[in-house]
């Protein structure tokens, strides 16, 4: 039973740890492998293993180092790890104490960039719908950038040139290095608290991906996202894209471009105002001229100028109707007149005057002026008056000879008809109207 050289477990583990820790190679190595069993502990430490086809190696990365990892390691990811080998005495287990992790293959920063971009995009930080419009004429412009160097100078120069009485507030920050991201994010928040600018430009000149890295940090992205004041991101050159570019309301390709798009040229604004002023004046002038013209035209309109026009028109219509009526009457009266003249001609042919002219006479009694048509109506000795064409004869009946019967109506037939009641009436009317009608017709 050996009593000497017996070690406790702790002693042995301690011994092995010292051995390994003393090894120059193991105190600073790069190991390549694939991550598995990755756990990000709430304390901030990473616990995981890396493996290849045959073997596994336990790894730990303490918070102090884990915090500077720019991407989120995950199972299956091929990585390069820098660190040292030491022994965890309690478990008797050697492990790799990682100090730096890089994705194997592509550049670490690029991967980190893509990872964060993907993550924030999923969260909606880049949504176009939440991008705000920049104020047209910002009263005051906040510039977050380094207080020295060309960028701030360029921005101030360009803004001054565009709009002389510009108001710029520069919030100086470091734009690279470890403190940069925190300072930039802090400045964005601070300007929001102060609320004394209308727009913020976050700017940095060109540089390597590492130098621009602060603008790819999540903390900067979030501060821009949360800013109530619109933010323009102007980092690096035209070809450089940073996370802050994606989150910002507007991305300017360069700091100078930011200065040009944040403030209009004063002359342009003045021209716009002048042109509006002119258009305003012209429009009202045109309107009044138009109204005056309309008024004038109204005043000169037929209704005002010839108020009786309508009446005249109606009267004309009436006249036309009257003329029609007259014409109709004329036609009608013409018809009557024709008929009348026909009747008159007929009457004329029946007139006893004609008969008288031909040598006939009309005999009436002297006593009561009755027509003598029969020998029986007179007696011998009666005075008779004989009407002939150019006068009357007073005669006395000396003898009466009655014609034998049968021939009685022969000679006296025609004048006898004239004596009928109707005929006499016509004669009266006829003598009243005939001569005039005769003249007209003639």
């Amino acid at each position: 039973m050996p009593t000497k050289n017996v070690l406790t477990v702790s002693e042995l583990n301690k011994y092995i740890k010292d051995l390994i820790s003393g090894d120059l190679i193991l105190s600073g190595i790069w190991v390549k492998g694939e991550i598995s069993n990755f756990k990000s502990h709430y304390s901030g430490h990473f616990y995981f293993t890396i493996k290849d086809e045959k073997s596994v190696l336990k790894c730990v990365m303490f918070r102090s180092h884990a915090a500077s990892v720019m991407f989120e390691p995950e199972d299956g990811m091929k990585v390069l790890i820098r660190g040292y080998i030491s022994v965890f005495e309690r478990d008797g287990q050697y492990q790799l104490y990682a100090e730096e992790i890089q994705p194997d293959g592509v550049g670490a920063l690029y991967v980190a960039f893509e990872k964060l971009k993907q993550k924030l995009s999923t969260e909606g930080l880049f949504d176009e719908t939440r991008k705000r419009k920049l104020p047209y004429l910002p009263g005051s412009i906040g510039v977050i950038t380094s207080s020295t160097g060309a960028v701030v100078r360029d921005i101030i120069n360009i803004l001054s040139r565009r709009f002389y009485n510009v108001n710029i507030k520069v919030y100086p920050v470091q734009v690279q290095g470890e403190a940069a991201a925190g300072q930039i994010a802090g400045a964005v928040r601070r300007l929001n608290e102060l609320d004394n600018v209308d727009v913020i430009i976050v700017a940095r000149g060109g540089g390597s991906l590492e130098e621009l890295w602060a603008f790819n940090e999540e903390v900067v992205a979030r501060s821009i996202y949360e800013s109530r004041i619109p933010v323009i991101s102007a980092v690096g050159h035209e070809t450089d894209f940073t996370i802050s570019d994606f989150v910002a309301d507007v991305r300017a390709s360069t700091p100078s471009a930011a200065a040009e798009l944040v403030m209009p040229e004063r002359s342009v604004v003045e021209n716009r105002l002048d042109s509006l002023k002119m258009r305003l004046r012209n429009a009202i002038l045109k309107k009044t001229v138009m109204e005056r013209l309309i008024l004038k035209r109204l005043g000169e309109s037929v209704a005002f100028r010839q108020p009786y026009n309508k009446i005249y028109q109606e009267r004309m219509l009436l006249d036309v109707q009257k003329r029609y009526l007259q014409k109709a009457l004329t036609v009608l009266s013409g018809q009557y007149r024709n008929r009348l003249s026909l009747l008159a001609a007929r009457l004329d042919s029946l007139s006893p005057l004609n008969s008288l002219a031909r040598g006939y006479g009309i005999i009436r009694t002297e006593k009561d002026d009755t027509l003598v048509k029969s020998v029986h109506s007179v007696n011998i000795g009666d005075s008779l008056r004989v009407y002939i064409t150019d006068g009357t004869l007073s005669c006395r009946v000396e003898d009466i000879n009655e014609k034998p019967h049968g021939n009685a109506s022969g000679g006296a037939g025609d004048p006898g008809e004239v004596d009928k009641g109707e005929g006499v009436q016509i004669e009266i009317e006829y003598t009243a109207g005939y001569p005039e009608g005769d003249k007209k017709n003639g």
């Binding site: 047209y136 002389y164 520069v170 601070r190 604004v269 105002l273 258009r279 429009a283 309107k287």
Partner: protein, 77 residues
């Protein structure tokens, strides 16, 4: 502060609207005159806004008692 830019913008936008409306010539004479008067007010306001700001370039420095606004030091070329 936040109102200034916006209100210039709103004013010039309103002015533009008014001018367009007036140019259409469809308003009554009375409305046209009202619009015109409003337009004149807006132009005056915008002109005032353009000139009212004084050129100021400052630097914001965090001090112990909050922020301090200092004039921007002359910038080298």
């Amino acid at each position: 502060m936040g109102e200034k830019g916006a209100s210039f913008e709103q004013s010039i936008a309103e002015l533009e609207e008014i001018v367009k409306k007036l140019e259409k010539g469809e308003l009554t004479l009375e409305d046209s005159i009202n619009c015109f008067q409003r337009g004149v007010e807006l132009t005056k306001f915008c002109n005032k806004k353009l000139d009212e700001a004084e050129r100021s370039i400052t630097m914001l420095i965090e001090g112990e008692n909050g922020i301090v606004e200092k004039e921007m030091p002359a910038l080298g070329q």
